[in-house]
Amino acid sequence: MEKIFIDPWGHILKKGKKQTGPVLKLLGKPIELDKEFTLKSFFLMLNHYPELKQISEILDSLLTIISGKGGIEGKTSEIETLVFYKTIEIHGFPGKPKLTVYNSLKGVVNKKAEDLKFFHPETLMDHTLTLGKLNHIVFGDKEDIFRYETFYTLFELVEGIAWELSFNFNPLQCSIRR
């Protein structure tokens, strides 16, 4: 399937051409991110293509928070980079058989994924963001996760990041980590 490319300034490129009009028709396209792509690039993309903000009611608020960040450092030293990845989880023994698929945005520290909900979004902006492999968890056994190459669509990226960052409404003076 034809991929679209997103550059560090948040522009979407299709066949090498910068998209200037509405991009809703590209929501289902697989994406490739520039090596320099950061979380800030993601929000720049929302500014270039405002219709993408309609995907989640949280995005407008996050943009307001980030644009008013003042002198806050955009790169926390507690994580090295950000990774966006997909998980397929099979449940069913004991209990009803169930398969769930979800996307996550995590911080990476020493090759380990770190939960981001205790970080302020302002402090994550300048971290590079990469697309990770698909994690396959069978019957809840997180010790034995299979990893596969996969692709991500533009919709998955926007919806997934919006969901994860919707947990980051911590007051600035509250910086508790677990």
Binding site: E57, S61, T100, L105, D115, S166, N170, Q173
Partner: protein, 311 residues
């Protein structure tokens, strides 16, 4: 700060799975009980009994099945004492109670029977990662059922907090002007007056429910804001006697998003709101109600109040 010689909560029930998922809630339960000189009851309900009278549980630590007899109950009580050893040393020994049954039903039954003034719970029974589908749908959980039906306020703790409750000084009351919101207001006001802290009266104009899909214009929004402010004054401010440490704020947008933003901006310590008793349509269950969305994401504790029986 001097507290009035009135007991705010005579009896606090901390409903716990006694697993790490409840650690943040445990800390606040112990601190609150000490602060308000309340009796603290740690209550743990084993899972649902099976058909035919047989009953076994799966221990969350070992993963092994065990039959529930008096020996097992004593074992669990001992485990709970060990789990909360540090908190017990710091704040005193609570009462331990365990029972088998459907957790939400038994918690509600126990609270009613014992005349509990406040129930404290963790928002989740598991430490799922936020991306998980389980995390996305909290409807149907014990917390949701208890918050919907409890006659007393339910304090839901989603995240660990070192500073929030012990010295909290900003209470945010979120209202949608429902009947249940009046009970939530009474709780928020009582707390604010008791502590002598600031009370924010907050309402979000739900722009997602504009009539016939027509987006309201600026004039119409301003009129609605004015009307909402007037309503807050007549429904709530008029009941506050000479208490004047309050502020009215009306924002427009999606209610749960605006409330979270407001809590962040004001560094709120406690959000108080109503959890409507209406059963949620299973088709809409994944979305949940405003209070559930707030509970899921809030950095500070959320008190869900539906009735004024215990206020």
């Amino acid at each position: 700060m001097q507290y009035k010689e009135v007991i705010m909560f005579k009896k606090i029930l901390f409903a716990t799975t006694a697993s790490p998922a409840c650690d943040a809630a445990a800390k606040i339960a112990f601190e609150l009980a000490e602060k308000y000189k309340s009796e603290l009851v740690l209550y743990h309900v084993f899972g649902v009994p099976s058909h035919g009278g047989g009953f076994s549980v799966t221990d969350y630590v070992t993963g092994e099945e065990d039959s529930v007899g008096s020996e097992y109950i004593e074992f669990v009580k001992d485990e709970m004492k060990t789990t909360y050893e540090t908190l017990i040393k710091k704040h005193g020994t609570p009462r331990f109670e365990t029972l088998s049954g459907v957790p939400s039903t038994e918690i509600l039954r126990f609270a009613r029977k014992e005349g509990v003034d406040l129930i404290i719970m963790g928002a989740h029974t598991r430490q799922d990662e936020t991306g998980s589908a389980r995390f996305r749908g909290i409807v149907g959980t014990t917390m949701q059922k208890v918050a919907q039906k409890a006659r007393c306020p339910v304090l839901i703790i989603s995240r660990p907090c070192e500073t929030c409750f012990w010295y909290f000084n900003k209470i945010i009351f979120g209202t949608d002007f429902s009947k249940a919101s009046l009970a939530a207001f009474q709780f928020a006001y009582k707390m604010a007056e008791f502590i002598g802290c600031k009370l924010y009266l907050f309402h979000a104009l739900d722009m997602g429910t504009s009539q016939a899909g027509i987006t309201p214009g600026q004039k119409s929004i301003e009129e609605r804001i004015k009307a909402a402010k007037k309503k807050i004054e007549s429904e709530y401010v008029s009941r506050m006697k000479d208490f004047d440490n309050y502020e009215i704020t009306i924002w427009e947008g999606t209610p749960y998003v605006e409330l979270l933003k407001f809590a962040r901006e004001t560094s709120g310590d406690l959000i108080v709101m109503a959890h409507h008793t209406k059963e949620i349509d299973p088709d809409e269950a994944l979305l949940g109600s405003t209070v559930e969305q707030v509970v899921l994401r809030s950095a500070c504790p959320v008190a869900s109040v539906n009735r004024d029986d215990k206020l």
